[in-house]
Assembly symmetry: C2
Homo-oligomer: 358 residues x 2
């Protein structure tokens, strides 16, 4: 078992990473758990892991609340249902939520924890690769609004993160690839060695080699913990974690969040960000090819030919509502070194989009 | 114009107190306002002050969102409506909310500000005495749940508080008295001199003497700012601000939040807390009489004869749901010096309630 720490003063917390952690009593007894717990999960994850977790927590006063799988559960009315469940369970300030699932469950549960009685503690138990390497660490919580994703939320750090790599056994290949997009993103923005390691070990990762997965998850959590401890509220450096996401969010928006998984859109977004970095005179053609090849090797799309460049551009916040704000892109000086660019000009952006879209 | 500061490091903020501040350009130009503003108010307050505020903010890109007056607007669905209005107004992270109204508007607006894009700035412009002396300062925001008040919320400090004492001109006598309950509470828990001053000036306050009101508001804001700066998250000292509220909340709960104003219930709650303090051997009979007389002089009820002691006791968190938790009372060593008591025994509590209830 690996243990990392997110250093945030009095709100610091541990990340445990290991295989088979969920049904180990030692995993849970090492945490500062409350007597009263509410486990929030979704119906798919519940089938596989709810009994295991409830059994491990048998000495606590524990209840279970399950939501429908999928992004549809990430809405304000579902926050109200979690709070209903907390009240029905007689939860006071010392009660604790446990988010057992992927990014949707983690974001929803974390936001309910942030709001209930003006903030109670919660533990992240991510069961998808994407949540394990990215969304469960760092305290971003929230739900969607019909007009946009994550418009309603809070920064609320978990009390602990428990990553059981064995939960990846029940993940589909497509979801695994989606998680690998965030792994590639993390390497690209912060660690050229890790990027090179990914180029060598991508087939092992897709074959779910336990050691390779554990290494990748650990490295991503280390990098994210470092960034978050220096810039919890995303005033500066933390923005770099959005590498590939300006493009990715636009792709998701144009396709109504229905066809592309978030990780798939981010994968293509990483290739686009690399290409835009090349056009600005930073990355070499070779580096762009390395990014594209690695995204492809992860089983992810590397272009968005079905979408029009104009539509994607419009979705990039370049609409009437926000016309006074400039688009912000995260670009690359080189693999492992990212920066924020506020001054990307429209023609260069359109040339880039034309390369990848219809 | 008086200016105080709530000292909270990088989240410190000013409180301006004065007569006629709302339509003074200098009031607003002294604040770090954004270009894009959304003023949230209720239909009653809007009639009196919306045009004045919108005119003063004419150089900004400002929109207005009005809710129905009353506690019914303090619910999660109304948070969603404020967020709809923010989005319709094209608000990004640098947008700002302005809460123009009483406690309901302040709590609702502050919570919407806490949640939108994981937190944007807001300014409190309280227009009731209760909000001016208590709820607008300190960063407690939130909405009600069918099962209880303020169950959903956040600590989110305002960027500034603007208190125009002239807005009290349009307040009913009953609402003025309700606000005076929190004034008496503040004096009782922290400042014996202020308590004695209130005994001398209660009739001036009820006659809306501008100087007397300004002094009382200033002293309450000073005391609250001090307490909040030492204990923002209510881990200790801030609990003292709940003097009279354990009883008060129970009265409100038994009467379905319909008959008693919050301040009226707190007024009676202060007399009950004084009586319980006497039974524990702290306050003298004379001190209890001083509290009762001052609450009475403020135009507030000093007992709850229409309610049964058993019902009030049950409403005091002594129900099955929370049976493992102990009731917490704020009691008085003497006027001006409060403390937290976790060990009040049932017979003593029932004797106290029997004195005031049926």
């Amino acid at each position: 078992m690996i243990r990392l720490d997110v250093a945030l003063g009095t709100r610091s917390y541990p990340i445990q990473i290991g295989s088979g952690l969920l049904d180990l009593d030692a995993t849970w007894s090492a945490l500062p758990l409350s007597r009263k717990l509410l486990v929030v999960t979704d119906d798919n994850v519940a089938q596989h892991y709810a009994d295991m977790v409830l059994a491990a927590l048998r000495d606590h006063d524990v209840a279970l609340h399950s939501v429908e799988p999928g992004e549809g559960s990430k809405q304000l009315s579902q926050v109200a249902r979690v709070i209903d469940a907390l009240i029905a369970h007689g939860s006071r300030r010392d009660a604790m939520l446990i988010a057992l699932g992927g990014g949707v469950v983690g974001d929803l549960t974390g936001f309910a924890a942030a709001c209930y009685l003006r903030g109670i503690a919660f533990v992240q138990v991510p069961t998808t690769l994407l949540a394990q390497v990215d969304s469960s660490v760092g305290g971003k919580t929230g739900v969607n609004h019909p007009q946009g994703k994550n418009l309603i939320g809070a920064f609320h750090q978990p009390a602990a993160v428990v990553i059981d790599t064995r939960t990846l056994d029940t993940l589909s290949d497509r979801e695994l690839s989606a998680g690998l997009a965030e792994v590639i993103k993390t390497a690209l923005l912060a660690d050229a060695h890790f990027f090179a390691w990914l180029e060598e070990h991508m087939s092992a990762l897709r074959a779910r080699d336990a050691d390779a997965l554990a290494h990748a998850i650990r490295r991503c959590c280390e990098i994210k913990a470092d960034v978050v401890s220096r810039d919890e509220r995303e005033r500066g450096e933390r923005m770099l974690l959005n590498l590939g996401h300006t493009f990715g969010h636009a792709i998701e928006s144009v396709t109504g969040y229905a066809q592309w998984l978030h990780g798939e859109a981010v994968g293509t977004g990483l290739v686009m960000a690399a290409d835009l970095s090349r056009r600005r005179g930073h990355l070499s053609d070779d580096d762009v090819a390395r990014v594209r090849d690695l995204v492809h090797a992860a089983g992810l799309p590397t272009d968005a030919r079905a979408l029009s460049a104009d539509e994607v551009c419009r979705a990039m916040g370049h609409d009437k509502k926000f016309q006074h704000d400039r688009r912000r892109f995260i670009l690359l000086h080189e693999p492992g070194r990212a920066f924020v660019a506020d001054d990307v000009q429209q023609p260069m952006l359109m040339n880039c989009l034309a390369e990848f879209c219809a």
